[in-house]
Subunit: 398 residues, 4 copies
């Protein structure tokens, strides 16, 4: 990595350690809302240091980092559940920003992207529906019908992350149900959350907690929701194509973050193994079973990082479509490493690892979803195999 | 299994399904305290049906089942986090009852065992200390000094399960610090929780929740706590021996319960695979990856159950000491099966599996500790290996 | 297990240790043919002791043991690659004997079963074809056409175990290609190996060796081979049904044997761990990594044995068809345990484990096929899942 | 990788495919000696093309490639068991050459290195002793005593690879048994194999075969073997230090080769999955279980390659000592990937995968040792953990 990137990474690491980690205990014990005021102050400080929105262009207030550079930084931010939020690169906002930047009309950019990039508002993204398997993206019931100058939307979505407190939500809707190509039937539409008919059914209790604000997942209903037709984001019928565009880099973002979680967990595990004693003068780390957990974690994290950086580089060179196989590979491989490393870190800590005195149990609970969201392991393995077998002359249907 | 046991198991299964499972959603979304009144009613019904305290003698209000019979029943109760509580066989009460029954003085039985067996009070057990690794039981700081007719206790414990709401706590204390045999230095002392100096530091937040009442784990402090010397439970200096006695069957109890959790999770997984569609007419269960998760779970649960029953039978024949290797084998083997089955059940359910709409996420969070409590995997593996290698002429120190 | 069975098992174990294990080094270094004369002597001794053909009826010279009793014995014989041969219970002869006993005509029994049960001849069984996947049993090219009083057979088979030196081969042939039910198209026909047109293409080199006599696998061709029509074994069109009948118990036989291999490997591993020193006074077994390999193997072998015995008991009670799920479960579960235990035993032995100075490397090479023959893991997992999902209302096609 | 390297890699891949792979069937069925004459011709062709000894300096007839460049090439050569031999980069010769180049006297270089680099002779390396665990390198019995102008050597070694046919053997001997530092007690001495007293006890049968010539492993004895004192290789007492020097890059060499084996196995697996049919029109590759084996292999091979290249680069930058942790990481990680990929490739091929009609079974048998030789998995994991824990302030003894 370039010297300047290395410097930045080092400085950000220190910032995370000095400024964000101290907020973790309050977050872990009292929830996101309890630390939100403090996080807002940290956001100001990040802006002041010129680190705001690192992967976004300078004209929108970002640092203009490339994907590979940001990958290094993202690992640092991923070391705590609060990191990306402080830099305004949390999902789904960063994904929404990228889509708005690329496909938004001047009006949409002014009205939605600008305050989002500035961190003045938050947004959400509604795709998955409780009635349909998330692994089949083209199967959905939410519809938008053009009536005069308005889209009229009806539907039911869940796992809409960060809906609570979001100013608008980008909603995937079937707009062209009769199109012969099922991938050309949906469109993305921007819906302000205060639009009449937009109902918040509930925050879904996930792994024992409903969460708050950005850290929550909602079930929502849209009943006769009307928005102006200019709220269509991108071309009509291109909803899936645009979603695919966002999910490619989005998966890289997740993987980068997971490497950060792994590294943090690894440090906690090693630090504890080095100092916790089984009996006077005999630290945990003197046990071979613990040593092997450390060595296996080291190897797997190293592999994960190299693969993520390699994929990021390929995306830079060839675009997300050209790196599709690499992205699917890291999606399931790194998620697997993440789960194993977290499991070992908890095991090394014993009862302490189960408690909320450390972030391990938070990661363990919530990142179990890493093998599910944005394409379950099984889906990505099939994607990889299909691409490979095609080179061997076999076309496999999904 | 005998026909009468089979009938009982079937009836209890139905009772669990009809009477206890309906309380689960409220428990999962609102916590233990929210369902406690209803659970108390269910306890009355269990008593009325003659099913109270199945593994306890009839003269104490139990059914007098042997360990092997109870193993079958325990699996049924384990299908929900609420099952054992309703039958008054939840840890640590059942273990405390067994110790009181075997080692209690008539006064102790009258005062502590009687209301406990009747379900009128709850109890707790304080052994682990935050300053010392749980995997080294003989290393503790809590002391009890005999001053006149009283034990004066000072110490610091954590992961004292169900302390909140318990009437008394059995506390492991060093009473004979200078005894040459480190296993002969501790004693168990019964301490009413309202004794002056007995401080509740906090309920430990575990996997995101503090829990309530029986379903909580506390950090406690004893500062100059004085109890009459007749509160000594069993002989002085036999604290570890008695603890060992309780932990053997206690581990069988856990393993039985885990098989129940596995079976429940398996049913949820299969039911969902059979009905959830990936696309119209194509259920999840038609996918080979899902089928293999089902088959592997079936095999592992079958293995786990056979091993638990085999160990229970050996305990019946030879006592817990004679089945020490078998108990260690099932402790780590079944805990491993449990974790893998839960993981697969969640994966099959996707986002739904992460939510509290099903009990899977509760089990996943809280039973991660199965590989830690009552002896971590690593401890039990070493116990087994030591016993095996001894047969080959090698004495291995821990 | 009954006292008499326990005695028998103990005596056979001693016989294996005293009489058969000493032949192993010559076998491992010089091959099966080198020890064949000695094995023939051992067979006489087995007959003299009244242990011949344990699972076969007394009127055919066997001991008349039930499947559950034989399971215990089979484990002892499985401890060495030579064990079953000495007791005349090696595959495929034992399977051929069972089929002949149940379906053979008086002529067939007199001519083929009698000398086979007496150990005077050997036999083989030809099913798999190189052109077709073994996991699809109904897809084969070998045909038998009735011309007058003779079947005229044409086909190509491989992995015909023990063809070399066999007096006859039972050949699966398509006799009714137009039957609407694909499972009713094949028949089993007894073909003496000296019949004109029966060609031995080659002994297949498997894992580096062609093997000899019983311990070899052949590729064969049948070109215009004519046998009398009374060589049809069982009913015409029932070839698959009869094959299925033999494969059920056959899989139990394999699993029993594998448990014996596991137990032998475990003993070698423990014995070596107890005595091999890493440095003066520090045996391998003092290392926690080795201890954990021992403990994990102990647990898995215990699970495997219990499952095999449970399945054998169910076959005794309900027949192979009634225990179909249990048989598939043990087929893949025990094969997996076998591979892991062998892997650990070799790892503990280091370079010695790779050598032919121990039987581990033989088992490792040749029992890799345990996860392939008689139904690959993937097939059995699917069989189990189908049966399970059927209970949940889902019919899954293979 | 640089364009020129990419070109070279492509040309070498083609050469391997066109010129070496056709020799594989004869090798797999008839052994190394059977193809040796043909391999000698291929060596001439390699020389003619200017590809001889790629990682060795030009003045010794090599190509002068750096480690990173050679890593790419080595993967291509590793695709067949015969590849490295044809380029004269097979172990242990390449390691012996490196040691002679760095530490040899002018006489040693002239007499031993020159013909070795030219491929006119072969050499061997004797370190491991049957009486002592290979994982404790400093524990050996072989001694060399200086008597006048000669070293007199007595000892017993095994797993001396390629001893058969080697012109000389570099022997690790204890020369300074009383040195306080056990790592300073041994020296390396060059011993021509025709020296009186140098006995070939046997070729060790490994995984069912003794092998021949370079592809064999010998047990040897040295009884009063006398060689001139100038046969000391490097400084007296530096035997372990020099061995360590050679083992670092040697492990990289192995790992590179293993990635080649993985890639070859992957291609075979994918090619077979694409064309082998389970039933007419339904190829193996249409099964999800097969697809997942392909995807998991793809991910693991990708990870392995990136880690090997990363380690090679670090060795280039910082020397083998500076990359010690990385080398240990890849040693156990890549060996694990290798074993899993081979296992899956065999499973996909079914019976064919067990046979010697493909190289898979050769790799499976002989590369089981990858997790044992040059430091068992357990040793390397401990090395990594020690280095990591040292950063956390804990010194762990081995």
């Amino acid at each position: 990595m370039a010297a300047s990137t290395a410097d930045l990474v080092r400085e950000v690491r220190e910032f995370v350690r000095e400024e964000i980690l101290p907020l973790e205990p309050a977050f872990l014990h009292h929830g996101f809302a309890a630390v939100l005021p403090a996080l807002r102050e940290k956001r100001q400080e990040v802006k002041a240091r010129g680190w705001w929105l690192p992967p976004f262009p300078r004209e929108w207030g970002g640092m203009g980092l490339g994907l590979l550079e940001f990958a290094r930084l993202s690992e640092e931010l991923g070391r705590t559940p609060l990191g990306h939020y402080v830099f305004n690169t949390q999902a789904p906002d960063i994904g929404n920003m990228e889509v708005l930047l690329k496909h938004g009309t001047p009006m949409q950019k002014e009205r939605f992207l600008k305050p989002l990039a500035a961190g003045e508002i938050r947004s959400s993204f509604a795709m998955t529906e409780p009635e349909h398997a998330g692994s089949n993206p083209v199967w959905m019931n939410t519809t938008a019908v053009l009536e005069g100058d308005h889209w009229v939307i009806n539907g039911h979505k869940w796992y809409t992350t960060g809906f609570e407190g979001s100013a608008f939500c980008i909603v995937m809707c079937i707009t062209d149900p009769d199109h012969p190509n099922p991938y050309a039937r949906a469109s993305q539409i921007i819906v302000p959350t205060d639009t009449p008919g937009f109902q918040h059914v509930r925050k879904i209790a996930v792994m024992g907690e409903q969460g708050e604000d950005w850290m929550s997942h909602s079930e929502i209903r849209l009943q006769g929701v009307r928005v102006p037709k200019e709220n269509l984001l991108g071309e009509r019928g291109r909803g899936f194509a645009i979603a695919q565009e966002r999910l490619g880099p989005g998966r890289i973002h997740h993987c980068m973050r997971w490497v950060g979680i792994c590294e943090r967990s690894f440090e906690l595990m090693c630090g504890y193994a080095a100092k916790r004693e089984l009996s006077p003068g005999k630290p945990l780390g003197s046990r071979q079973a613990i040593q092997h957990m450390i060595a296996e974690s080291k190897a797997e994290i190293h592999a994960a990082r190299l693969m993520v950086l390699d994929a990021a580089e390929k995306v830079e060179r060839q675009g997300a479509e050209g790196a599709r196989v690499e992205i699917s590979l890291i999606k399931f491989f790194v998620a697997g490493v993440l789960q194993r490393v977290l499991d070992r870190a908890i095991q090394v800590h014993g009862g302490l690892g189960m408690s909320d005195d450390l972030p391990l149990s938070f990661f363990y609970r919530h990142e179990r979803a890493a093998r599910i969201y944005d394409g379950a392991d099984e889906v990505h393995k099939t994607v990889v195999a299909r691409a490979v077998l095609k080179e061997y002359g076999l076309e496999v249907s999904l």
